[in-house]
């Protein structure tokens, strides 16, 4: 499986990661190699095998649907790159 630079650019846009031209070139080569390597999985017959999503059969524990924590705006906001009062400041979203 060969990944070209246009594909890398498309994935990088989906992943919201800016790449330099050099990084995009390198990624095309590295990703192609890794995908070639994982292609060996095609040798395994999995036609009758269900995907394994959760490795331990742990049944989730239910609890009352009540607020158990919260009301701590200072804790929530203390690491904000930019804030105004009790709000995060983010770049303009609506043009």
């Amino acid at each position: 499986m060969s990944i070209d630079q246009a594909t890398v650019a498309r994935i990088a846009a989906l992943a919201r990661i800016r790449l330099t031209d050099a990084q995009r070139e390198a990624a095309a080569v590295e990703l192609s190699r890794i995908l070639d390597w994982v292609a060996q999985l095609d040798e395994v017959d999995t036609s009758a095998v269900e995907p394994l999503r959760s490795v331990m059969p742990i049944s989730p524990t239910l609890r009352e649907d009540i607020v158990s924590d919260g009301g701590r705006p200072e804790d929530v906001l203390r690491n904000a790159p930019q804030r105004s009062g009790d709000y995060f400041v983010v770049p303009k979203v609506v043009e």
């Binding site: 994935i11 990084q23 390597w37 994982v38 999503r53 490795v55 331990m56 609890r63 690491n79 770049p91």
Partner: protein, 492 residues
Amino acid sequence: MTSELTRLTLSGALERLSRRELSAVELTAAHLDAMAAARELNAFITETPDCALAMAEASDARRARGEVGPLDGIPLAVKDLFCTSDVLTTAGSRILDGFRPPYESTVTARLWQAGAVCLGKTNLDEFAMGSSNMTSAFGPVRNPWTRPGENEALVPGGSSGGSAAAVAARLCLGATGTDTGGSIRQPAAFTGTVGLKPTYGRCSRWGIVAFASSLDQAGPMARTVRDCALLLEVIAGYDPKDSTSADLPVPRFSAAVGRSLAGLRIGVPREYRVDGMPDEIERLWQAGAAWLRDAGCELVEISLPHTRYALPTYYIIAPAEASSNLARYDGMRYGLRVQGDSLTDTYMATRGEGFGAEVKRRVLIGTYVLSAGYYDAYYLKAQRVRRRIADDFTQGFEHCDAILTPTAPSAAFRAGEKMDDPVAMYLNDVFTVPVNLAGLPAISVPAGLSDDGLPLGLQVIGRPWDEETVFAVAAALESAAAFDHLPYGLEA
């Protein structure tokens, strides 16, 4: 600068503390001195000496009042993937720039509740993605071991390389690690220390920076099997904040150390005899089998036929989960923000600058295998092969009670080696990754030296929830191997 106090084992220090021959403050101060003298290892990202001494004083006060926790006064290091309240938490990445969590991870909270003392946060591969500690944004960790007579820097393994180096260099009595594909066991093997990955669900993942959520598990690293068992007794257990933590009783794991192995069946998987495995690894493995036979075990050959597919399966599933988990680093609520022309541009600039090369590589692979048109061919296929791998172990355990393998296919390698070939780097984890895919408990025990004079580890894999047998077998190996070598330069 190590001292008599930093050379104690965790269990030995507990005894001395309980006999009042030693105070927590003395013990902590000795470790802080050792840390200050070993900064060239770069094992710590953040040292917390003031906090450590305050915790040690509080421990001595508790002891004077007779209120003693199971780890009271024991100085520990914490992998910088665990959130620690008000203490810088980096995950080895620039993208968490300046992040001071307002909360404490469950595992570390349990340690402090048990009276342990926090020395600081240890270095790691960025977001725990690596096998060499070379991908940390805070620079590589140096293995305290070198080849005899040489000064060339070797890697401590990864991703819990800072924790492993700190334990090996006698900078702490134990440490926490996390293990997604071998990140506790491989660095333990590379540094001559003991590290356990518990059964998936044994320890809470709450407050641990997530890498691949179906594989990640926290575990102890220390210098003896018993010390690891004592740490696991404290950090294990159900946590309502992690729906994948198991609501099961926590056994007294340390009671399994020294237990008789008579009649135990030990599986030796024939598929682990991989092409090109060095003779020294093969010899160590055979020595381990002989020690267990002498301890009363029956050795049986077993087959885990899908072993060779474990690494490629892992390198689809782990990046897929990582690409999803790391989507949260968007520069809006915490950490680095690199301003762009628009919201999307700010996301792209922040993540482009904040993530290092290996993290970008894995997020890109993960995004690709989850993207429309490729999901079935890669991601679902990998989940199907994962079931085959897990089923192999289930069938293997019909014939044995524990499995013995080498931990890694080589000893520690040179800093910078394998950096230009991701696949060669991934092969380090060939013996450890299948265990994560199956969710099983496994330990690495130092068992001997390579021809180059570097530590090598043996791995013991157990059935789900049977850490006790893992500890019992590991203790027998430990006792037979009598590994008492110290990193060169630390010898008395």
